[in-house]
């Protein structure tokens, strides 16, 4: 896979369920090492776009390239290798409920690495400590709070030191303080690990706090209507929808 400035390139992407088009003609690039936010109102297709980016849904038209490598035009073996290099934090955390937090984080390590059981335990302990869950290794997802589940989901997403981290509505269901802490954690992880981060959210404080770049999806016109740093969009965009959306976050 050739390294380019753009880590992920979306070309003429159309997303549809059957004949029902959700978004069309999406064109944008996500650069290496940046925090990229996919924003827009409810129901505009943000999470659907994320599901396309992580290979869960095949595009109806267009392409998604990762360093010029096309996921859907590759064989299953290559796709599997690619999936090991990304980490995803789902909206609900999506922890496997029948496993402890340690087992959730260790599964990928057990499947894809040759580390010994002791080494895996150490890595798991470190990953859980990174997200502030040291000591919770033997807890089941049902025994911890929603915010802790999200952080445990993040520890699992980071298990294999992914090149790209995807977040689906990380602040959803969290109180403002937990949400703020998660934003700080995302920034710290990006700064320390240097990976690319893609976040789907409509939480304006988060958007302004973490985004280097963004794309705005519009449900009405079914396409993207703006791209750029949200602060610059707020200052310079003449689009009424963008202003209406972003102004809500300005105190």
């Amino acid at each position: 896979m050739k390294k380019t400035e753009a880590h992920i390139t979306v070309q003429n992407l159309t997303m549809a369920y059957g004949s029902y088009v959700i978004q069309r003609d999406l064109n944008f690039a996500i650069n290496h090492g940046e925090i990229f936010v996919i924003m827009g109102g409810s129901g505009c297709g943000k999470s659907t776009l994320l599901r396309h980016l992580i290979g869960l849904i095949q595009p109806s038209a267009g392409r998604i390239l990762y360093d010029e490598w096309d996921f859907w035009n590759s064989d299953p073996g290559e796709r599997e290798l690619f999936l090991r290099r990304i980490g995803i934090l789902y909206q609900s955390g999506a922890l496997w409920s029948s496993m402890t937090l340690a087992e959730n984080v260790s599964l990928a390590l057990e499947e894809y690495t040759d580390f010994s059981a002791r080494q895996i335990r150490e890595i798991v302990s470190y990953k859980l400590a990174l997200v502030g869950l040291a000591g919770f290794e033997d807890f089941y997802p049902s025994e911890i709070s929603g915010g802790m589940r999200k952080r445990a989901g993040l520890a699992r997403a980071m298990a294999l030191d992914p090149e790209i981290l995807f977040f689906d509505e990380p602040s959803a269901g969290l109180d403002p303080i937990s949400s703020h802490r998660l934003d700080d954690l995302i920034l710290e992880l990006r700064d320390s690990l240097g990976g690319t981060v893609v976040v789907v959210t409509h939480e304006l404080p988060s958007i302004f706090a973490i985004a280097d770049n963004s794309v705005f999806l519009d449900a009405e016109t079914k396409t993207m209507i703006a791209q750029g740093n949200p602060k610059i969009l707020l200052a310079e965009s003449k689009d009424q929808k963008i202003q209406e959306f972003l102004r809500r976050g300005v105190k």
Partner: protein, 379 residues
């Protein structure tokens, strides 16, 4: 024009400018009932050329949602007749709620008239059935490939999960398997006893119970119990994982949900079903022996000797083959409906119901097919 309904009052006047004025008084609350708009409608009909409608509500003593619902209906009528509404005469709170309730036009969510036509419905059902059929084929194909990976030692699942599933499907099912199959043995013995007593051939109850239980009823009743326990549990567990995005998390980690979720369940049931069926056979025959002893005065030792004479290893083998098939079908039905479920709490319930119904239908069909095949081969 005046109307009295309990204490609510409405008086409709027409001003010189051609506008209608609704003078409202009394309590306008839900407790008083919803006031009909028929009078206002009649007034709008009889006063052609009305361009505006206003309110005088200073004598309204009390109001709640009932008042706003009445006003919303008035707004709907006015909208149809192109009559403008002036809400200045309404109390401020009512005005705010009324504006909020009429801010967004009613969305057209009615079905396309074409969609309700018979031909369209037949088409929709055909498409759905075709999709279900092709999805089922794809699932069975993937399960088969996953099973091949298992045989080559390449299927990825946790061995601890397999042991847990084996324990749940096997040991934990023993009490209910015991109860049901003991009762089945009793029922078969009762039915046989009544018929055979007429010929003085009570001893052959042992033959009837042994062959019926070992070849058919033992595996079948056990499979139905397993469908209700394990099949339903598999569907509920997997569909809940679908709802919680846990299956997506597996996929995006490059781990096949087929390997991780379906194969261990398929393996657990195909391993446990023959063992449970064998156990069920003995419990069923024990039930028959109890009835023979108590009703027909056939001693346990005589019953035992007669049973041994009636059975041969082929009978057990044929029953066990059926048990393996049933186990596979129950696991497939449970896992398939779970994996294909929607992403809502209701979908979990629907998947569970479908899993049990599908499993029982498949068990009965498989029983019929295997019995016919056995008969054709003279077994």
């Amino acid at each position: 024009m005046e109307h009295l309904k309990k204490d609510q009052m409405i008086h409709i006047e027409r001003s010189e400018s051609g506008a209608l004025l609704l003078k409202l008084s009394g309590p306008w609350t839900l407790k008083e009932g919803l006031y009909p708009v028929s009078e206002v409608e009649a007034a709008l009909e009889s006063n052609s050329g009305v361009k505006a409608l206003s309110f005088d509500a200073k004598d309204v003593s009390d109001w709640d949602s009932g008042f706003v619902i009445f006003l919303r209906e008035i707004a709907r009528l006015c909208s149809q007749k192109n009559v403008a509404i002036d809400d200045a005469g309404l109390p401020e709170g009512v005005r705010k709620l009324f504006r909020l309730a009429t801010a967004v036009p009613v969305a057209d969510t009615h079905d396309d008239p074409m969609a309700s036509s018979l031909l369209t419905r037949i088409g929709d059902i055909s498409i759905r059935l075709t999709k279900t059929w092709s999805d089922s084929q794809a699932f069975i194909g993937e399960a088969f490939l996953s099973f091949l990976r298992l045989l080559r030692g390449k299927a990825r699942f946790r061995r601890t999960d397999l042991w847990t599933l084996i324990e749940e499907a096997g040991v934990q099912a023993l009490p209910i398997v015991t109860l049901i199959n003991f009762l089945v043995g009793i029922i078969l013995a009762f039915v046989g006893a009544i018929q055979l007593q007429a010929f003085g051939a009570e001893i052959y109850v042992a033959d009837l119970v042994a062959i019926a239980v070992v070849r058919e009823m033992g595996p079948m009743m056990t499979a139905i119990i397993v469908a209700g326990r394990s099949g339903a549990a598999y569907a509920a567990h997997i569909s809940t994982m679908v709802v919680n995005e846990e299956v997506d998390a597996l996929k995006t980690m490059g781990i096949s949900p087929m390997d991780f979720l379906v194969t261990p369940r398929l393996l657990a049931l195909t391993l446990m079903m023959p063992l449970l069926a064998l156990y069920a056979d003995f419990v069923g025959m024990l039930g028959g022996a109890v009835i023979s002893q108590s009703m027909l005065n056939v001693s346990f030792s005589l019953y035992y000797t007669q049973t041994i004479a009636a059975l041969n290893p082929i009978h057990f083998l044929l029953g066990l083959i059926k048990a393996v098939i049933y186990g596979g079908l129950v696991a497939l039905a449970g896992c398939m409906t779970g994996m294909q479920s929607g992403r809502s709490a209701a979908a979990v319930g629907a998947a569970t119901t479908r899993a049990v119904v599908n499993a029982i239908v498949l068990i009965i069909v498989a029983s019929a097919v295997t019995t016919i095949i056995y008969t054709l081969f003279g077994l």
